[in-house]
């Protein structure tokens, strides 16, 4: 059972967090061939936090978990905080293969996405 755990920063604004949860649900429904389980978790300011997100994936039956940082820039959160939290967790799950994906901003597809969004621009 493969799981994808989308990890966002977390916001004091509930709507922002809900968007991430909604995106995870959308991924779950449309990408079930690649991932049996898709959950969202947050670095801070919102529930569930990353350790609970990993736990949820395991409870859901995951044997492998890809953690994907939903961040645009390679700041301290991406370079240190998220990997450190994952490292602190893996000891609890010796039978689960946990891997970490590059943050979103590192993707070669980012330019395509920008150009595609730019095409939808509307007059101010």
């Amino acid at each position: 059972m493969k799981a994808l755990l989308l990890v966002a920063h977390g916001s004091r604004r509930k709507q922002s967090n809900d968007e991430v949860v909604l995106l995870a649900e959308k991924l779950k429904s449309q990408c079930s061939q690649q991932y049996n389980i898709v959950n969202a978790a947050f670095l801070e300011l919102a529930e569930v936090l990353i350790p609970d997100g990993i736990k949820q994936c395991v409870t859901d039956g995951a044997t492998s978990i890809v953690v994907l940082p939903y961040f645009l820039n390679s700041g301290r959160h991406v370079v240190e905080d998220v990997p450190n939290i994952i490292n602190d967790c893996i000891g609890q799950y010796p039978d689960i293969e946990i891997s970490l994906a590059p943050h979103l901003g590192a993707s070669d597809l980012m330019m395509d996405l920008i150009l595609s969004s730019a095409k939808s621009a509307k007059a101010v």
Copy 2:
């Protein structure tokens, strides 16, 4: 002359801002068919700010400018701050067509980008 202005939040961490500027330069070199000019600007915490970013596009010769919010969530910055700043600017440029693109997180391509990044995951 078409310009694309990438607008990020801005960070106290110089490296994060440099990443956005670098991305604008990469877009400029690889997407010159769509946009003659590509610049980066920031909502706060970094130079150049949005009004100066628009001014720079005009100085560079732009007759139309697409402003693209380089944000993942539709928070206050995307919904209010960026549009308000643009609205405050447009009066100065009556001959320039200024339009606003949806923020990155709204793109239909986001799921493809996530799945592509997830494929590059490495063991922690």
